[in-house]
């Protein structure tokens, strides 16, 4: 892997982490009145995957969509405007945290579990019908795959050999329930995923994600049909909201801390320094710059115009 790619991966993760930490630090001000599912701890997956995509590819995500939105190049200003419910937010203040989308960046998300999986499959269908080399990517959590539409979409994608990469961000929990209570060791859709030559990879190793996602995306572009990647990762914060939640009883403090030791960002920072891709000083300066930008975007968002009553009905059929 070349140094430019490594730096790109590192900066993508750093940006997601710092922007979301800005959300954490100001969420209590209650300016962002939108249920917020943070990706802190899971930055490697979105960063590693999206770094392989072109502008014409399309990415679909679910409720925990901040990381993919930012990795796809979504605007931080428009992100904060949206979370603050302002008119110039990326969804005009209509979608909030869980529907972040930007058609110009080929990015859409929706919090109905599994809901975007077939939509991404349909995007892949149109890519194929139009004989393009574009690829559709859909991020889903481990619980999203429990929905029937997943198996149905996989079936259709295989049938038509569609250029789609299904990414499962397996962070072990559906809200507050561990995967061991929700899925058998040999899940019912194993038969389907076997057809896809599925792979489970360490979703906290951004290079691993990048390399496997690259293989997947390239294979899609060559018309080889859909690919499935399960990226094992972990969310540090509560299911929805800015806090830690190891005190409420569904997971232990030790478990969270153990995963924090495997934090994708700090692991990769060490590597970036070791390989001398960036100097310690340069990392610190960049980090500071990103944090300032996130703070400024939030401050600007608070000054953003509110939608007016007239805006309520605009664009309604």
């Amino acid at each position: 892997m070349n140094q430019t790619t490594r730096k790109k991966l590192f900066l993508s993760m750093l940006k997601i982490r710092r922007v979301e930490e800005q959300v954490v630090s100001v969420y209590g001000q209650k300016q962002m009145r939108t249920p917020t599912h943070l990706s802190i701890g899971q930055e490697a997956v979105a960063s590693g995957v999206c770094a392989n995509l072109t502008k014409k590819d399309q990415v679909f995500a679910s409720h925990r969509c901040h990381a993919a939105f930012l990795a796809r190049g979504g605007s931080v200003d428009q992100f904060f405007l949206e979370l603050c419910g302002r008119k110039n937010g990326v969804n005009q203040g209509r979608g909030g945290s869980a529907h972040l989308s930007d058609a110009s960046k080929g990015f859409f998300s929706s919090p109905i579990l599994g809901g975007m999986v077939p939509v991404a499959t349909g995007a892949a269908l149109s890519f194929k019908l139009n004989k393009t080399k574009n690829v559709a990517v859909v991020f889903s959590g481990d619980a999203g795959l429990e929905e029937g539409v997943f198996a149905e979409s996989v079936n259709f994608a295989l049938l038509k050999k569609l250029p789609i990469v299904f990414i499962c961000e397996n962070n072990l929990y559906s809200t507050n329930t561990h995967i061991r209570y929700r899925q058998p060791n040999s899940p019912i859709f194993k038969r389907v995923t076997e057809l896809l030559k599925p792979k489970q990879i360490n979703g906290n190793d951004v290079e691993k994600v990048y390399v496997d996602a690259k293989k997947a995306v390239d294979s899609c572009r060559r018309g080889k049909g859909p690919v499935f990647l399960e990226c094992l990762t972990y969310r540090f914060r509560e299911h929805v909201g800015p806090l830690y939640d190891y005190n409420i009883g569904y997971r232990t403090k030790k478990e969270v801390f153990d995963w924090e030791k495997r934090c994708p960002l700090s692991l990769y920072k060490r590597k970036i320094l070791k390989l001398k891709i960036m100097s310690k000083k340069s990392v610190e300066l960049t980090d500071k710059k990103i944090m300032n930008e996130a703070e400024n975007s939030y401050a600007k968002a608070l000054k953003g115009s509110w939608p007016t009553e007239k805006d309520l009905m605009t664009g309604v059929y």
Binding site: N91, S104, V119
Partner: protein, 345 residues
């Protein structure tokens, strides 16, 4: 001017014309590519455009509707067909949580103009889950249009219109109308959304009827006219958007409203139209509004029970006499007419 074609042929013709005009128009759904081609409505399209554009799908309604949405997002114009509209329930998540919300929430000129055709079956023992008429469910939600074409002319025009618009449209086609013949222009034309059609002018009673009941209302109007009751028959064509203006103007003229819909009463289309009139033309009403809809039970299979279950012109005739306060002559009807429709279903 004598070119008479059936409702099914009109749908097929609209599909083929649209596919010719716009290479992005696709047909999707279970059985759209099979030998029967949804009562013949997709056969011609398949013959002319092949399996890349008439795409048979697995029985995965929700996912396949999502696939249609994803394709529409990228410029395709899928017509998604449910040979029974009851199967649309399986796709409600995608239709309501995605298609109906897309433009409003995601903006940026991002639209998903899918057309969903759902066929209402009636009679012949199709029973509780193959003969429902689910228009009021869909009408409840903003962001989608709902049409209930009552004639071949409207069926062709509304499908053409849908395939040229940016709105997700649900079209409910009544299976019993498929063989109904009428003059239909060969060329392309459109029928507008939100524009009711007055099938017959009258001055005593307004009957607003949907889908197949338009024809029952016309039959009823003819019978009661012999007894001096003049009925105006209004077909809303689309129930979302609803042409309130035409309906209210008619009620202001006649002072009486009967609403007949192919589905149930509770929160149904007949109830909604009644509410609109009660709210906006109450002082013009000379008698309480009457609603004609299905009895509050699932559709039974038994032929005998079906006779009790479905509403027809006789119910409308009775309502007309009651609403004008005239006594209905005895022996006006012999028996309920025997159901001669033999399918295919």
């Amino acid at each position: 001017m004598s070119r008479q074609i059936t409702y099914a042929q009109a749908i097929s013709e609209a599909t083929v014309l649209a596919m010719k005009k716009d290479p992005n128009v696709l047909v999707m759904g279970l059985g759209v590519d099979d030998v029967k081609g949804i009562f013949g409505t997709t056969l011609e399209a398949r013959k002319k455009f092949g399996l890349n554009r008439v795409i048979g799908t697995p029985a995965s309604e929700n996912a396949m509707t999502g696939v249609a949405i994803g394709a529409a997002l990228n410029g395709k114009r899928p017509i998604f067909v449910h040979a029974r509209n009851d199967f649309m329930f399986l796709a409600l998540d995608q239709i309501i949580n995605n298609a109906a919300k897309w433009k409003y929430v995601y903006g940026n000129d991002s639209v998903v103009p899918i057309v969903v055709r759902g066929i209402i079956g009636k009679g012949w023992g199709q029973g509780p889950t193959h003969s429902q008429s689910i228009q009021s469910v869909m009408t409840h939600f903003p962001g989608i249009y709902v049409a209930m074409p009552s004639t071949p002319y409207i069926a062709k025009g509304i499908l053409m219109k849908s395939l040229e618009s940016k709105v997700p449209v649900i079209i409910f086609e009544h299976r019993r109308l498929y063989d109904f013949k009428q003059y239909v222009p060969e060329k392309r034309y459109t029928v507008d959304f939100g524009k009711a059609k007055i099938f017959k002018r009258g001055k005593d009673v307004t009957v607003v009827a949907t889908s197949i009941l338009v024809h029952q209302a016309l039959k009823a109007a003819k019978i009661v006219s012999d007894f001096g009751i003049s009925v105006e028959v209004v077909d809303p064509v689309t129930i979302s958007p609803l042409d309130e203006k035409t309906i209210i103007a008619s009620v202001k003229k006649t002072g009486r409203l009967i609403c007949a819909d192919t589905s149930w009463l509770r929160c149904g289309v007949a109830s909604e139209i009644s509410a609109v009139v009660a709210e906006k033309a109450f002082s013009f009403l000379k008698a309480p509004i009457k609603r004609i809809a299905l009895p509050e039970c699932p559709c039974p299979v038994s032929r005998q029970l079906e006779e009790f279950f479905y509403k027809d012109y006789q119910d409308i005739v009775c309502a007309c006499f009651e609403i004008v306060g005239k006594k209905r002559p005895n022996n006006l009807f012999k028996e309920k007419e025997e159901d001669l429709f033999l399918g295919p279903y």
